[in-house]
Amino acid sequence: MEEISDPPNPTREISEPMSEFDPKTMRTTKPGAKRLLITTSVLVCFLLGFPFLWKSVEIYRSPLPFHDIDSLSGQIESSPLQFPCTFHAIFVGFRSMNPSNLRSAILDGVTQFTHRSSGCGSCNFSLSVTVQDPDDHCTETIVRDPSKCSYRCGVIKGNDFGIGLEDAAVDESLNDIFGGCTGHGGKIYSVVVVNKDLGNGEGEVRAVVGKHRHAWIVGSGLEERYGDMVAKVSEIFVKVFMKGGREESSINGEFMPVGSDGKVVLSFNLLNSNPRDWVYDWDFQRIDETLLSPVIKALEPVANISVESQVLYHTPKSSFASWDEKLRSHIFRMSDLPFFVNSNEWHLDTSVGAGGRSKILQFVVYIPSAGECPLQLQLPNGEMSKTNGFISPMWGGVIVWNPANCDKGSGSPARTSIPPQNLEKIFEVFLGQFRQLFGFKSEATYTSGLGTFEILPSERGFTEWELDVLSRQHTCFNLQSCANTLGSLSRLVQSLPRMIIKDEIGEQVKFSLKAAKMAQSNASLGAYGSSASSSREARSLAEDAFFHPSIMSVSYFSFEHCFAVYSPFFLPVSMHVILAALREWKRYKQEKAKYLTSLTRKKTA
């Protein structure tokens, strides 16, 4: 306030006339420290009070276990989750085979196939080999775990595998033999190699993969083609049982169409593009009961699936098809497929049932209007699509169904139902699409450089070994996404130091980490079901924490706001306090120097 310009030449406190006493540089009395004390004590009070103020304006942040989150994501990244699997190879009808040699040969083959990608959700396998000679004498490699039920020698007869025997029956008998062998050490997959003269020419080898966890190779003269056979066995183990027969490039776990709460809603829609031409209806409830429920039941460990259906009308597609005179049909090219789905007119959505974060998969049967009937989808190579349908990953599938003869008839259209045979066919295509959305092939063969394997289809849509693959990948993907979400959450929280974090979020993170740990330990024990369910829980809790409404809302009490509120008081006051203390300190030093010089003068004088 007042304008005391700092005096360069301090005044004298005492004006005693003294010889050679220069009042500008000397003083006789000790400088007083009263004012200095006052100003410094005020400054100290302020400095001491500052932490209290800081504490009082602090916002509540629940402590998050950042370290645990980092370690979880590090762990998942560095060592992908692996499940224990037991492979069992049985060679029937071989005379001069050493099981330990065979074992090492198969191991070599398996590592050769797996070395490129030890992807998430793969197997941490153990292998045992049994060789049974034609006289039913067995030699085995040492079984490490005696608790596992081992193969009883001589149960499999060469005659069980022959021509004229149903593959399904063979599969069932194998399942009976190995039945009850699903011990706690993961799943047991077996390949039976039967050396047997089939009697229909040399060199024919059949390889079949059953719908349980067994495969068999039957052929004659296999003993001579030793290397080929070993390669085949190891390929079945790796490509089929471990990877589910998927292509490397096909849909991987990240595109698993399962919602973060583990729910999937299958929404089936029958679209009559122009009901003025014809109106088709279906009896969906019966289909649901007969066809879909076994599939849904089979997929229960992976996802909780519910089914809905509706019939919609006046739903044209959004792009035009061209008429092909030669094929006598309207052609829709594959390059136009992105414009097939008409999101303006196809109101497929509206599922209150799929609340939260469940995934909805749309399956659409499109019935073209009379003007564009028959409508065919054309493959890029010019051929017609046999299924007349397509899928769109993570969205669903579309099938075009043309009414027979495209006969419009006269008069107003009546509601007719799709003939049962056609409906059956449509749903077979749907199931194929559904398998594709999960990344499986819809063909019943698996072809590789070494030959073709037949795959027995299951009436439940998915075979047991496929479900194993799914549940392994699902667990792994859930854990990955849980770690990702938690990692993003921790980065977000750390980057915004003034964001409120409620206790609820902290608890959700804690439980999510706990569930993730649980899933990991269960996976290492080989408990597929429980590890899948706890991984799902971990993921959904992590998502809950990330999408907690308190994070989404404007809970960001910014530093600028804080500054604007407190600066009108603290800025002027702190200036006063600091300046006063500084000045007093400076003055005290000066005066003290003066006093000291006067003292020295006295002494010398």
């Binding site: 899928i391 194929g432 009108p568 006063a580």
Partner: protein
């Protein structure tokens, strides 16, 4: 939108070998049904009422919410999830003119709604869960209809009426949003629930500009469940969707006495190209009300032979399929199933004679208004006037006993309107009466601040002979928290409409002959109590200066800082030393100070003083001047910023 993997078109293999599908039996009694109807009615004030009525029915079944053929899946899932027993949602723009458009017919008593959004729902859940269901339902509907129905979630905005809104309504919740703007984004999701949407059938008439240009627009969705009466079967659902619009036909003719002639295409700008093929029945009705038929008969002798549709008074462009006679009106029925693209349905009505008719009126005409001034308190008044038609009617049966007229009033007050129910005053024919004389039954649930609104249900019994009655209630206006004000706080706050119903008067159409089982006609034949809604009111509340908290912070902080700083300076001041300093510095003044002292001397009109002797005083005065200028400068900038910021 979608990504397509290269192997999109696979070759498939039959995964199912043994599947037996029994041929599907359609056409049995238990199928979902849909019907569309339109009722047109010329109004006495040269306007035309168009009432669209769509009805979807889902029979009792176990697969509700899962498998549907015609019935909208979304609605069924809603009913299933929240256990809704009955629900009505309406979006309205404009106010129904009860005097000119009718107040005593089933159309007005069922379909007129207050401005904005009104929602009520009855639930089939235990009493403790009703509120939770309501909250979830509002959120779902809000998403479904693109409207801010979710504002009805907070307990301050919905009420649970006991008897005034509907009889036996213990699990009923009622809420309304008077200020909700209604537009085409609400109509589109509503149309989505119809199997033909607006692509085909009668709904194809709904040309958005023509509909929203109207004087009144009310879009309604009413659903109720029908008990199947069977074990293990879910109840069936009936969904009624109605759209009521009042339009004014362009009258090209100069003759002002004659009612304007119109056609469907002149009203809507579109024609009907046949029915929606999925509809069980699709009819258009034209209702002519209150026409003096015997007068027309006398004018036109050919009436009997040519039918009622072509006579001297008016002429229809299309011959009706049926003519239904009602006590007070005619209904011409047109079946549009036979029309198609080449032969569109474009009904026209041409008036030839200036005809006048009056519409049925509710016994009382209600209006509501605010009294008082200022932002502190006020009063709300409801005035009821006996309408002309009823005056005549009541005058007729004076003979038998004391004639009374019963009216129920249902009113929801927001909590910031703190009504003093003891100040209820009743006036009858401008004379004050005691409350007990008129009010037979009153149920009041007072509002709680920031938790629940106030609800008033009142049963009045008025003598028929009175001409008018008025009720008034005083209220205080509450203060809202600064966070609770809407963005447009200065606009005022709406008080929802009051509902006046007359439980002893029922509006219905009575036909002389058997009618077809059309859902619209059977709805009109039902007895429905006469109801009318009052206007909504706009109450101005005190709105704070929203920047106030920050201003307060700034000014207190500044004052504190000034006080603190000066205190600190006083504490460390050395008075004696300063004086000595000033004396010694007397001769060495700054140039600026000298200049200032010179200027000040000029102003004072004195010659420049010699600096030596009176230096201190001149320094003091120039210091003082400096301070004055500083303060003035601060004041000027403060003024500048406070006006421009």
């Amino acid at each position: 939108m979608a990504r397509f993997s290269p192997g999109s078109l696979p070759v498939l293999v039959l995964f199912f070998s043994r599947i037996f599908l029994v041929p599907i039996a359609l056409g049995s009694a238990d199928v979902e049904e849909f019907s569309e109807e339109l009722l047109l009615k010329p109004l006495s004030d040269r306007k035309v009422l168009a009432h669209f009525h769509f009805e979807s029915q889902a029979p009792p079944s176990n697969s509700h919410g899962r498998h549907h053929h015609l019935f909208p899946k979304a609605i069924s899932q809603l009913v299933q999830k929240f256990r809704v027993k009955e629900m009505e949602l309406s979006f309205t723009q404009g106010r129904w003119n009860y005097e000119r458009w009718g107040g005593f017919d089933p159309l007005s008593s069922m379909n007129t709604k207050p401005v904005g959004v009104e929602l009520w729902a009855m639930f089939d859940v235990p009493l403790s869960e009703v509120d939770a269901s309501w909250k979830n339902l509002t959120h779902s509907l809000s998403g479904l209809f693109c409207a801010s129905i979710n504002f009805l979630e907070s307990s301050t905005s919905y009420a649970s009426p006991t008897w005034g809104f509907r009889p036996n309504s213990d699990k009923l919740r009622y809420g309304s949003l008077p200020c909700e703007a209604v537009c085409t984004e609400n109509l589109t999701p509503w149309l989505k629930l119809l199997p033909c949407r607006d692509k085909d059938g009668i709904s194809a008439l709904m040309d958005r500009p023509s509909i929203y240009r109207g004087f009144y627009h009310s879009q309604r969705l009413h659903l109720f469940t029908v008990d199947s009466g069977q074990e293990g079967l879910d109840s069936g659902i009936v969904l009624e969707q109605t759209l009521t619009v009042v339009l004014r036909p362009d009258s090209g003719s100069s003759k002002k006495q004659i009612q304007p002639s119109w056609t469907l295409s002149s009203l809507f700008g579109r024609k009907i190209f046949g029915s929606c093929v999925l509809a069980k029945s699709s009819n258009v009705y034209l209702q002519l009300e209150g026409l003096p038929v015997h007068e027309l008969k006398s004018v036109d002798q050919e009436l009997e032979t040519n039918g009622l549709w072509k006579n001297a008074g008016f002429e229809l462009s299309i011959e009706p399929d049926r003519v239904l006679q009602e006590t007070n009106s005619f209904l011409f029925e047109f079946d549009i199933g036979e029309y198609n693209d080449s032969k569109p349905f474009d009904l026209g009505l041409t008036w030839k004679l200036p005809l006048k008719w009056s519409c049925g009126q509710a016994p009382l005409h209600a209006s509501r208004f605010l009294m008082g001034s200022g932002n502190e308190r006020g009063a709300i008044a409801i005035s009821l006037k006996l309408t002309e038609t009823y005056e005549k009617f009541s005058g007729g049966d004076l003979g038998d006993g004391p004639c009374t007229l019963q009216a129920n009033i249902f009113q929801v007050f927001p909590w910031y309107i703190k009504v003093y129910y003891h100040t209820l005053q009743v006036f009858m024919d401008q004379q004050q009466r005691t409350v007990s004389e008129v009010v037979k039954n009153i149920t009041v649930s007072p509002s709680t601040d920031k938790t629940s609104p106030g609800v008033m249900e009142m049963m009045l019994e008025l003598p028929c002979r009175m001409k008018s009655a008025a009720l008034s209630l005083e209220f205080d206006k509450g203060f809202l928290h600064i966070d609770e004000y809407p963005p447009d706080a200065n606009q005022g706050f709406d008080i929802p409409s009051a509902l006046i119903s007359f439980p002893n008067h029922h509006a219905r159409l009575v036909f002389h002959e058997e009618t077809s089982n059309s859902p619209l006609l059977s709805k009109l034949k039902e007895k429905s109590p006469v109801r009318s809604y009052t206007e909504i009111l706009l109450v101005p509340l005190t709105t704070p200066d929203f920047s106030m908290p920050y201003n307060v912070i700034t000014i207190t902080c500044t004052v504190f800082a000034l006080y603190f700083g000066s205190l600190l300076n006083v504490l460390r001041r050395r008075v004696g030393e300063e004086e000595r300093l000033l004396k010694s510095k007397g001769n060495k003044q700054g140039k600026l100070l000298q200049l200032l002292s010179r200027i000040s001397a000029k102003i004072r009109g004195r010659p420049v003083e010699s600096s030596s002797s009176e230096a201190s005083s001149s320094v003091m005065s120039s210091n003082f001047l400096l301070k004055v200028m500083l303060v003035a400068g601060i004041a000027a900038t403060w003024q500048y910023f406070s006006t421009y910021m």
